[in-house]
């Protein structure tokens, strides 16, 4: 359904958004799963739930490229009309000065400026634009990977072309159409409650009831997309033997020899050899992607079946959202969401 024209052959016809002011912002998607045997981490949006919801809200495939904004404001100019959404941690979103809700579609008129500012209670926001952002991909993904040396970072003057089928529509009374799609928005802000299931090395560790499952942990400044390093009481090891390197999932909470806890993020090495005390649930991993230096984490021990049930409930919620968005967009004459 997209136009075949590329920006090089049709510079006039292709919509572009231009970055007017940026702090830390990049193009990303849901990452590159399936490459662990090549030693390539999944990476992609740190808060997968917010990124997925942002794309659903504009009727994009869930894994479509979008903008990830980290701990900073972003101002973007749209020469042509666009349907966008902003999700993630709280922020003030305005279009030519008029305030808009986050976690709802926003109709941006041609020539308008969209600003995302006053960011608080979490590190990351996502800006999705209906259509296909024209990005360079490595192994099928545009997500930054510092080890592969790939990634598109946005700064003032960056121009991002995109194909879109969006045709502006109007509200009969208000200047901008308003949506109420009722996304189940998670709670944002420190202290973050992180649900975890037992890790495979629990028998090698002691005093978990007084440490991991009880005490607050502080996210330290040397945390990044590879891992969050935490300050707090360390579980004690019952042995000092080395563990053979083995595969380790995102969300694993390792106990390092220095007694620090390391929570693995999406850029983590695919193997590790430190004991793993617990594993953040799939749902909690999105919250971990929002936690920044100075934030406090509290871990809550959950059963495996409870973690799976929560993950499935969230999947159902996203599927239900997709259905609502499809209904709404069809009513205003926009094609149903594609590819998801």
């Amino acid at each position: 359904m997209w136009s075949d024209s590329s920006p090089s052959t049709n510079p006039v016809g292709t919509p572009v958004f231009e970055v007017l002011a940026a702090g830390i912002a990049c193009l990303t998607d849901l990452g590159r799963p399936g490459l662990s045997r090549k030693g390539i981490a999944v990476n992609g949006a740190a808060d997968q739930f917010s990124a997925t919801a942002a794309n659903i809200l504009v009727g994009n495939p869930e894994s479509a490229p979008l903008v990830e904004i980290t701990a900073s404001a972003l101002t973007v100019g749209f020469a042509r009309a666009a349907l966008v959404s902003v999700t993630g941690a709280p922020a003030t979103v305005a279009c030519d000065g008029q305030l808009h809700r986050t976690w709802e579609p926003i109709c941006v008129p041609a020539g308008a400026t969209l600003s995302i500012s006053d960011v608080h209670n979490g590190l990351r926001r996502y800006l999705a634009v209906r259509g296909t952002l024209q990005v360079s991909r490595t192994h099928g993904s545009c997500a930054p990977d510092t080890l592969l040396g790939v990634g598109t970072w946005l700064r003032a003057g960056s121009r991002v072309p995109f194909d879109t089928d969006y045709v502006p529509f109007d509200h009969p009374i208000f200047r901008h159409p308003l949506f109420r799609l009722a996304v189940p928005v998670p709670r944002f802000g420190s202290p973050w409650t992180i649900s975890v299931t037992d890790g495979p090395d629990l028998p090698r560790l002691r005093r978990l009831e007084e440490s991991l499952f009880a005490a607050p942990y502080l996210v330290t400044p040397d945390s990044n997309h590879i891992g969050l390093r935490l300050r707090g009481p360390a579980p004690a090891r019952t042995d000092s033997g080395e563990i053979l390197s083995r595969g380790v999932p995102v969300g694993a909470i390792e106990v390092t020899p220095s007694g620090e806890l390391l929570v693995l993020q999406r850029g983590r090495p695919v193997t590790a050899g430190y004991p793993v005390a617990a594993v953040a649930t799939s749902v909690a991993q999105s919250a971990l992607g929002q936690a920044g230096p100075g934030d406090v984490l509290r871990f809550r021990r959950r059963s495996l079946s409870d973690a799976v049930a929560t993950c499935r409930a969230r999947r159902h919620a996203l599927d239900a959202l997709t259905t609502r968005v499809c209904t709404v967009l069809t009513r205003v004459g926009i094609h149903p969401p594609t590819g998801s």
Partner: protein, 215 residues
């Protein structure tokens, strides 16, 4: 006889560990199992990490279950895979010690050897590539002739230079790109290699003056 233990690893992964037999047999079993599951494209399976004696199977828990993934692995464990290519031997020049191998003195102290003896034993070892892992396909090797295991750094470095040759436990690795790492750095190579599981790496000491000659 090789057995398989499976344990849940979070809500979306199972860790399969080979038991019984020799280390060599356990390694073959998990590598072969990964090949079979990769070729089968099992529903819901997202990613695989096969190492020495274990296979991590990551999956989408909204599409499959821990039990289904575990039984898929058990059913697949006996199946043969397509024949593989014969192993390659890689000769890898290394500048040992100094700024290229800042942990060589620590490793020597841990083993009660001189730095030169550590280098001698490291060079003497026919290192076998067991798997390629992070970062970006780093060859994980074993077969160490060093007299004991090496402990990891108490706190991982935030940046290990490209080409660093590092040891930990009874393993050795070459960092193909600059990355964080917790292993002890004993040298560095200007060479680039792309080995596969089963290949052999022989290290050759070179003088620092030869670093830029392309060797």
């Amino acid at each position: 006889m090789i057995g398989l233990d499976t344990v849940p690893y979070g809500d979306s992964a199972v860790l399969v560990t080979a038991t019984g037999g020799t280390a060599e047999e356990r390694w073959r079993a998990v590598q072969r199992l990964a090949d079979v599951i990769e070729a089968d494209q099992v529903t819901g399976v997202r990613d695989l990490v096969a190492t020495y004696d274990s296979l991590l199977v990551e999956f989408d828990c909204t599409r499959t279950t821990h039990d289904d993934v575990a039984s898929t692995c058990r059913a697949a464990s006996g199946r043969p895979v397509r024949s593989t290519t014969p192993p390659t031997t890689w000769r890898v020049p290394v500048v040992y010690g100094g700024e290229h191998g800042p942990d060589l003195p620590d490793v020597a102290v841990q083993l009660g050897l001189s730095p030169d003896s550590v280098v001698g034993l490291h060079v003497e070892t026919p290192w076998v590539v067991r798997f390629t892992g992070s970062p970006v396909g780093a060859p994980m090797m074993d077969g160490s002739r060093l007299p004991g295991p090496i402990s990891r750094c108490p706190s991982p470095r935030t940046r290990v230079p490209t080409g660093s040759v590092a040891v930990s436990g009874r393993q050795c690795v070459i960092y193909p790109v600059s990355s964080p790492g917790g292993w002890r750095l004993i040298g560095r190579t200007p060479a680039h290699l792309s080995p596969r599981p089963g290949d052999v790496v022989r290290f050759e000491p070179i003088d620092e003056s030869r670093w830029h000659t392309g060797v």
